[in-house]
Subunit: 318 residues, 3 copies
């Protein structure tokens, strides 16, 4: 996906972490870390790009991700347009591309896109003006690059050396853009070991997640892990996994204090949110001392600030 | 409700006026008055807290109250997130508390909550981080503290000495958070006389509004009053009051010019809005010289600015 | 519509272009042109009116026009309230005028109104405070004054002298507020020739568009034209025009490269958007070298900035 980079190798769009090299990922993570402040302090505000404009186009609704991008943009001094794309231009039959052309013509520099179908970020990226950047905020089950980056930042702040880490991802890995983006980044950053834990039917094919260990039992999958990433499971997916209900899923794949004790004593627990408490994770774990779930959210805003700054510098110089 | 105050007695949350002492109420009202400007002038803008963030969570929709808080926050330089809480996190089954935790982790300092059910502001207040403030923008039929404060500011600008005042509240007092919050403040400020005017079935029990006179006839209830607060009545409540329709309600409880003449000649007329003209109030009165209804709206923005500044100073120093 | 001007002839409201004199139109167009920047550059930001507030009341939804006004306001440093007027105050039975009074009392200086019914802008204009301005963002089939101005700006940047121009408007002219506003401005600016091209049933009566040539055949209507304004057609209107479907409309009135070749070689093609590609315009034309459709969008933001600045100066001095 080299189109994400400009001719001098700088990041111009961000629609997948796949193929981005280690120094680039590390610079993005470093930069995001630089935006972190003590909780309760006023976050950093302003940037040389104040007065430019960002358009949020969420074809799949997501209040938390939209809010994270919105706050990131506002704190950089950018104007934010939130477009309710379900009910506006599409009701008039306007094509998505015409919507993009219109927003470009209004001097929107950055488009944040989320869609439940695959392909839109790439399609838009290939059609925008040279001074415009496309950021994916979640694409079908494939990519969620800013989530991948914030997850790496979260791991690095607790665990430093990726080559020594064993990371276990638990849940509906097959359909998870979070897992896919994390795996791209972990591979590039040279993770020691990646383990996937899922029911057979939710385990991705062997053409994906190369080099990862695969487990159908949670207990063996998290034994000795440094990082446990739990994933959100959707009700309709349980059925396809021959798991009748939330309670049965929890019995087999729910992260309880007892199971967490099988991981390293200083293992951290992650979840991209929103959580189904009592389905994929027990509340004692979600709110316990090993949980870094709320840090992930904090790191998410910082990561989006870092990504926006990076692409804006690529487009307009710094 | 001492939890609203911090250990040194400063206001940290505002979910009810009950129990707040007179000096505190007076400081809030003074401060709100300081934000008032001549109509047509540019309102005050900016504050030491510019760059901090406010989240509006309206579980019960209210454009006018949300707009009032939004403008107050923006004029203080705060970023505002408007969350459509009906359709976002709840559709994914995320608990309200997880939504709050998420927004805290995004560095939202102030939560503005409105709900048609009781209990949420107190519940949230007990669960937020030490650097976060909860403001109620209306809680069921119980509390609407910023409305109570703006009503006091409105009265004081016209009538100065509360101890000399006779205040009549007319309408569905039983279900009115506006009436409850006004009564809390009036009691603390030492109002001379409080009179409640309502049909039997909409009159609160004698355990509430201690010391208030109760009237079922409007004419006797407003005789000689200095202030008449009319309340919004909902259609479904008329039926429970054995009042068949809007017209019948107006005949018994509508504030007409003739009835207003029974109050003091310089009596002021208030309404929290939105008004049902021709139901609880005649248009001649609503738009007449004794009406201060639009001033209430103006005072509302100033009051919300004052409250936000006060809690932000408590949290972060000034 | 002299009420749009204050006693010294300055523009205070903008609800129609009809009756505005040539110097005023030219000053607005000049001022809008001054806000244009090179694509990719940061647009101008800030104004002496920063901190004042604009309320967008769109009774007829329109994401693109609302976004254009929103960005214009934000770039001038104004606070923007987007009111979902379909679901908020009207559900509580609040009259539109009470909504306006409320927003005035919150110190909103500028109201941007869009409605599918006629009459609202004029009605509101007659009822606002002396320090408030009303801007129409589209009124039924009658007026869309900022669209008319942006269209004039677009023509002038390509064609300079209006007296030498032949302008052809194609489509559902009868129901088009865009066509009406363009015609008002073109007449005042002294356009050389105005031609209307439409099926009989969508052609306005002879009491309107005085002096315009009327054509039912596209080919004769655009022969030798300098400017071709294509209009959006709605499906239900095709039926009333005895045109069964989109394809048939395109066959008779769609602007194809072949037909465009009948106009002057340097003719420009306009469309107010959103376009029905393949109905009123071929994609080759919409995206071709003679199309100025995206420039129209850019000019729209600049025009709205110019109009807001002009009325704010009238209200508050400069």
């Amino acid at each position: 996906m080299t189109m994400q980079l400009d001719s001098s190798g700088k990041l111009r769009h961000l629609i997948t972490l796949e193929g981005l090299d280690k120094p680039l990922l590390e610079r993005l993570i470093d930069r995001a870390e630089g935006y972190l402040t003590t909780p309760g302090d006023c976050p950093p505000n302003g940037s040389p790009f104040a007065g430019r404009s960002v358009a949020n186009l969420f074809f799949e609704p997501s209040t938390r991700t939209r809010s994270s991008f919105e706050l990131a943009a506002k704190r950089l001094g950018l104007h934010v347009l939130n477009l309710d794309v379900r009910t506006s231009s599409r009701t008039k039959g306007e094509s998505i591309l015409d919507t993009i052309y219109t927003l470009e013509a209004m001097a929107c520099d950055v488009f944040v896109l989320r869609d439940s179908e695959p392909g839109l970020p790439d399609f838009i990226m290939r059609n925008v003006e040279p001074w415009v950047s496309v950021l994916s905020a979640g694409e079908a089950d494939r990519n969620h690059p800013t989530q991948g980056l914030l997850d790496m930042l979260t791991m690095r702040r607790h665990k430093r050396d990726f080559s020594q880490l064993s990371v276990s991802i638990v849940g509906d890995i097959l359909h998870s853009r979070v897992a896919h983006s994390a795996a791209h980044a972990l591979k590039t950053l040279g993770v020691g070991q990646l383990r996937l834990i899922a029911p057979e039917s939710l385990m991705p094919g062997t053409g994906e997640f190369l080099g990862a260990e695969r487990h159908t039992r949670l207990e063996t999958g998290i034994a000795g892990a440094d990082v446990i990433m739990t994933l959100r499971i959707q009700k309709e997916r349980m059925n396809s996994a021959s798991i009748p209900d939330s309670e049965s899923y929890f019995q087999q794949y729910g992260l309880t204090p007892e199971r967490l004790a099988l991981a390293k004593p200083d293992a951290i627990v992650m979840h991209p949110g929103p959580m189904n408490r009592g389905t994929e994770i027990a509340s004692e774990v979600a709110d316990g001392p090993q949980s870094v779930i709320r840090e992930q959210v904090t790191n998410g805003v910082a990561t989006r600030m870092a990504v926006m700054m990076t692409v804006l510098e690529t487009l307009h110089g710094n």
